[in-house]
Amino acid sequence: MSESLESGAPSFLDQFPAEAKLVRATLWSSFTALILGGLFGIIQTLHRTDILRVMDSSYYYTVLTAHGVLMVVSFTIFFLVGVFTWGVVRSLDRPLVDMRYSWTWYGLMVLGTLMAVVAVLGGFVDTTEMSADVLFTFYAPLQAHPLFYGGLAIFLIGSWLAGADWFRAWYAWKREHPDERIPLQTFMALTTMLMWYIASIGITIAVVVFLLPWSLGLFDEVNALLTRTLFWFWGHPVVYFWLMPAYMLWYTVLPKLAGGRLFSDPLARVVFVLFLLLSTPVGIHHQYVDPGIAEGFKFIAMTNTMFLLLPSLLTAFTVVASMEYGARRRGGTGLFGWLRALPWARPAFTGMALAGLMFAAGGFSGMINAGMNINYLVHNTLWVPGHFHLTVGTAVGLTFMAATYWLWPQLTNKPLFSRPIGLLQVVMWFVGMALMSNAMHVSGLFGVPRRTAEPQYEGFDFTPAFGTMNEFDMQIAVGGTLLFLSLGLFIGNVVLTSLGSKQSGLGDSLPPALSGPSDSPVVLDNLKLWLGIALVLVVLAYSLPLVSIISRGGLFGPGVGTYPVIIDTFSAVVESVATTGIIETLAQFEVGVIVQ
């Protein structure tokens, strides 16, 4: 059946049963979030395209918040902690130091997720005041129930402790192997976590110092621009936090699946160091249209962002070259003919390769987003979700699903239930996403807004230069439906695999790189040095903007009221009065900032 069956090697489960159990738990949490997130995804897709409206539009933000939070916080990060635990333990070839500690961080992450999700789902229950319809960006003055911020904080603490766990394992390993280079997968996990710790400074201050006490009523106002800026201080590096486990899989597993090995270990290390250095000092590129931040700071963020393209281009080269190496070993020839020699029948390979291809497309729309002037064209339009469903939604999401087909048997000692279904699933995701994302990009260009329950307006029509709005809506709906069906196939395959019976010898080894770590300068492994430089870059990029934001608006904001998003379904009159009030105050706020 599966090729790994024939390898006969002991699996990860055979070698590290306690760790395998933990990794399985994190992945189950991840998949649960994925399937729930997908359910909300299809509801909002059919709703906003006006194909099927199963709920009142006043619930749209509750659904959208649930979709965003479950997908990009729970699905991705639970998968990350699983893959990093697996990668660290596998590459150090030693167990974690203390499993009770490890289960503690996992428990905290679960608890935090449950708290946040309960707060969000409270938005559906009319009899409770509890809600958190703040979208995954939770910008003030939108306010969530304290449970949401509290849950977020606990989830973050869990993720920090997870990182500390991998550092502990590495220290223990170092004592046993004093003069050796850090194994590649561990190196990747550790540099990613250093980036995460730096990024967390922003979100921690935003949540713990401002938003949580504010939602508890300890003070009445926050500086909306300050908390937004602190959010994006974290919000850009978090996209690399999602991506780095996918990169780890592309660098270390994909070449093996292609029948070869990683082309260059040193290049992989350089890429991870570059991400550590450059991920954080770019967050302001999400705030190009925010009033109150000087153009100069935005320009610096743009320049840094363009530098950040470098490690991704290096990755494209290294990963594709590793695949080509595998293909040529498998007998492939010619300038492009080797592509045919790749193992396209394996869902793990095909899924990851298609994910990489979509990432290349996402790279283009990302460059548009990153350009200060052209960003104005697409800002807050459907283009933006179109972009990140290619990147986090597919480059990351599809890679995770594809990798599961390879990893899951080694965590359970159960062969994959069905490879053909797996193959169908990854292709379906690719096709569905191509449709949905393409139509989202195009609609965005014609001004269709994102985050809108009913983007159909009376007395106004979008005028696309080609096609019709109806066609785009249909593409989005059909694409979204394919994605949802694909999710069903994925989860079904995993569940049926888990119900199967155990076999031995399902392990699969990962060969060392063609050009090994000994070819690279030792300084690459000097994590303290890179952490120091990264911190300096962050201080350079953020101190002046933050000082200017605080000196203009004060720590607690230039007089913006608080708006819990509670919609009173009984009294339309009260509602419309209140909404007008909000719009007026917001308008005053914006005018105030611009005048300043």
């Binding site: 300038l335 460059m367 230069a465």
Partner: protein, 52 residues
Amino acid sequence: MSTETPKREIDHEEFDPKGTLALILIYFVILSILWVFMYFIEFLGNDLTVIG
């Protein structure tokens, strides 16, 4: 298993990723074309979005 029994053994020196280079060049060409296309979308498809 495929890795253990390659059809052809290739070592570090003789491996020359020319297919990869070709693919990446194609990607750059597509990027440039899209970039030019973007100019038309931005300036001809809509009113100017950048003012002052």
